[in-house]
């Protein structure tokens, strides 16, 4: 029944598609239709077509990462054209399991193309590589940084130019930064780390700083219950429950930026993706720093990669490769980084005059790049949605005091083991 429907649909669509005189690349891109970035992407597509006659780029704007993935996969199933897509970097294992993508190594055959595969920051390749092959080319990538309010630091008698370097220092500085009114109610918190939306992402930073990654590169084992990982969650919990420098319970991702720009917290951990927005709305001087260290510094990366779909002709693969190469040249990476606030994906981009000038005027923009040395892959495993939610729930249960960090993480680990066993 299903095949019959699919056949029917394919037939209908084939009849509706005009004959192709040239190579067409349909490119799914995760953004809402009509957003300001669609203009940038459209501009890139048109410019590429001008330089490469015979290739047509059709960007399809498809909501957020989830929508884009669902729509691209549905298009493939229905036999509609889809050659490349920017999708969530952590969808890698899911896409492999569905058997819909091919590694870029298969198409990058010349020496120059092979060199291009190695041109990116290694930290950004971790989420795109599986069994030694590159499946995801980094495009719009972010990481977590610490924002701090320099006026608040001055008021608390701290050096406004110096961010906390390690966990102890962050807790101590945060204690000084807490401001209470006459009745003893907190007017300004010391630090806030968001714990809704993407708690696993923030927690990866804590765990990495305490010396551990939360999963293996094969994506079939998690490391939720290591004593150092439990200690990392304990530190996070203690910021609210013991040190009282952060509100107890969970901190909302969506409103944290406003709380920071309203001066309700002196420091926050947030994505670099918020940099431009904070810059535009903060009425006080603010700094951006790498996240503090425990045993080492650390932050996960995040964001979207270019994937190449399996259902493609050799000519399409060649054109797709040319396009993605063109999209990630140093000049374009620099341009894209300035336009969006995403990190430029390769070192040469930071050597371009344009980005050098931008960084000189706005040094906060390069902190994320400097942090790449310490960066790690974003949490991605087989069964990634479930395995990630186990961790999300454990973190929230610990932060709201319903379970101890050890209890919560051990339970999550047991359940993750059960889910991942078939993949080992």
């Amino acid at each position: 029944m299903r095949t019959l429907l699919a056949l029917l649909l394919t037939g209908l669509l084939a009849a509706a598609t005009p004959a192709r005189a040239q190579t067409e690349i349909t490119f799914y891109y995760p953004i809402a239709v009509g957003g300001p970035l669609t203009k940038v992407i459209d501009g890139y597509a048109r410019a590429f077509e001008k330089e490469h006659p015979g290739v047509k780029i059709n960007p399809i704007y498809a909501g957020n990462y989830d929508d884009a993935r669902i729509r691209a996969l549905a298009a493939l199933k229905a036999g509609q054209p889809a050659q490349i897509s920017v999708l969530y970097s952590i969808d890698l294992y899911e896409l492999i399991e569905q058997d819909v993508i091919v590694p870029w190594d298969d198409v990058a055959t010349t020496a120059e193309e092979k060199a291009w595969l190695k041109a990116f920051y290694p930290a950004l390749m971790m989420n795109g590589t599986y069994k030694g092959k590159v499946y995801g080319i980094p495009f719009q990538r972010s990481t977590i940084v610490l924002y701090w309010n320099k006026d608040a630091f001055k008021e608390a008698g701290l050096d406004p130019e110096k961010a906390p370097a390690d966990w102890t220092e962050m807790a101590q500085m945060a204690t000084k930064l807490v401001k209470k009114d006459a009745r003893g109610n907190v007017e300004r918190w010391g630090v806030m780390v968001p714990s809704t939306g993407y708690p696993y992402w923030m927690f990866q930073a804590f765990a990495r700083q305490n010396g551990h990654d939360l999963m293996n590169p094969e994506g079939n084992r998690t490391n939720y219950a290591h004593p150092d990982v439990i200690a990392a969650l304990q530190y996070w919990r203690d910021l609210g429950a013991k040190d009282r420098v952060m509100p107890e319970g969970t901190v909302e991702w969506g409103t944290l930026r406003q709380q920071f720009t309203e001066g309700k917290t002196a420091m926050m951990w947030h994505t670099t993706g918020n940099l431009t927005a904070v810059k535009n709305s903060a009425k006080f001087p603010f700094g951006v720093a790498m996240l503090p260290a425990s045993k080492q510094r650390g932050s996960p990366t995040g964001g979207g990669n270019f994937y190449l779909f399996k259902k493609t002709t050799p000519a399409e693969r060649k054109a797709a490769l040319d396009f993605v190469k063109w999209m990630t040249t140093p000049e374009r990476a620099a341009d894209w980084s300035i336009a969006t606030g995403y990190v430029a994906v390769r070192p040469e981009a930071y050597e371009t005059p344009k980005l050098k000038q931008y960084a000189a005027d706005f040094p906060q923009a390069v902190v994320a790049r400097d942090q790449f040395k310490f960066a790690t892959a974003e949490l991605a495993t087989f069964q990634t949605g479930r395995v990630r939610k186990l961790l999300d729930d454990a973190i929230q249960a610990a932060l709201t005091g319903q379970r101890t960090p050890a209890e919560a993480l051990k339970a999550a680990q047991t359940e993750a083991d059960r889910l991942l066993k078939p993949y080992r």
């Binding site: 899911e94 399991e97 569905q98 509100p247 319970g249 901190v251 409103t255 309203e262 309700k264 929230q396």
Partner: protein, 288 residues
């Protein structure tokens, strides 16, 4: 020949109904008996295996419990408020159109927009709720959505605010169709307003009440848009509802078989509730 015409007239509606309601429901039931297939591990028949997994799934029981409290917390309150508002704006009062519009406005707004507004109401310190609390009661800031004890109640208040205006419209329509002679006759006989409401208005509103009750019940299982903005079901599933969990299982875990299983449960639950409502309550409803 007559039969042919009859069937022809029915066909368009029947195709739509079968294609978009009955076939998906049957397919969901069918899918719930198989495991989720991937290229590596094709789908296979597992019988009631998915249902057994469901019985062992603590999150399923938690979201079902949440849904129960959510329904219990939102339905009676929003219906009572709707009826009171309708009676009030049905009277002759100054700027009546304005008052009606004010009550109806929340209904017109998209849930996503409403949730974004309320997200800021509930934000600790800078939020409206905390500002009012601090100004009036000197109360310390509370992390409304970050505390598992308050988060579900917070979403309920928002949904009541949004839903009551919608139900009010139905009550208002029903009130306007009540013949004015009844009230005149009651006044002549010296009935008090409360007595008139209790013995005349309220019973006559029963068909509307049944209709609103069915709708409110369905809505309490259907409305999950706010969770995407407000809490994503957190902290630790404290505000998650059944349909939102189905969404997560289907589109975040890609476990279509288990999502089908949950959907079958939701369908049975709603069908059961509707049956009970129609069977039991209809006996006590006066239709004219």
């Amino acid at each position: 020949m007559k039969h042919v015409y009859g069937w022809l007239l029915l066909t368009p509606a029947a195709i739509l109904l079968v294609g978009f309601t009955h076939y998906p429901a049957a397919a969901t039931l069918f899918d719930s008996l198989f495991s989720t297939g991937t290229v590596v591990r094709p789908s296979r028949f597992v019988g009631i295996g998915n249902y057994a997994a469901l019985a062992d799934d603590p999150i399923f029981w938690q979201v079902l419990g949440n849904n129960f409290w959510f329904a219990l917390g939102t339905i009676p309150t929003s219906m009572t408020i709707a009826m009171l508002m309708a009676i009030w704006v049905n009277d002759r009062l100054p700027a009546r159109a304005l008052a009606r519009m004010a009550y109806f406005t929340p209904t017109v707004l998209p849930m996503i927009a409403v949730a974004n507004l309320w997200l800021f109401f509930y934000t600790p310190q800078i939020g409206l709720l905390d500002q009012i609390n601090a100004a009036l009661f000197n109360a310390p800031s509370h992390n409304w959505l970050g505390d598992p004890r308050t988060v579900l109640a917070c979403t309920m208040v928002m949904v009541i605010w949004k839903e009551a205006g919608f139900f009010m419209i139905f009550y208002l329509a029903a009130l306007q169709s009540l013949p004015p002679e009844l009230e005149e006759a009651a006044r002549m006989d010296g009935a008090s307003r409360w007595y008139f409401f209790r013995r005349v208005t309220f019973p006559l509103l029963m068909p509307t009440t049944l209709f609103v009750l069915v709708n409110a019940t369905i809505n309490s299982f259907k409305l999950v848009d706010h969770l995407f903005i407000l809490t994503k079901g957190g902290p630790d599933n404290a505000s998650s509802l059944l349909l939102y969990y189905i969404y997560q299982v289907a589109f975040s875990f890609f476990d279509t078989a288990y999502a089908s299983t949950l959907t079958v449960v939701l369908l049975l639950l709603l069908a059961g509730l509707a049956l009970v409502q129609f069977q039991l309550i209809e006996r006590r409803v006066h239709y004219r």
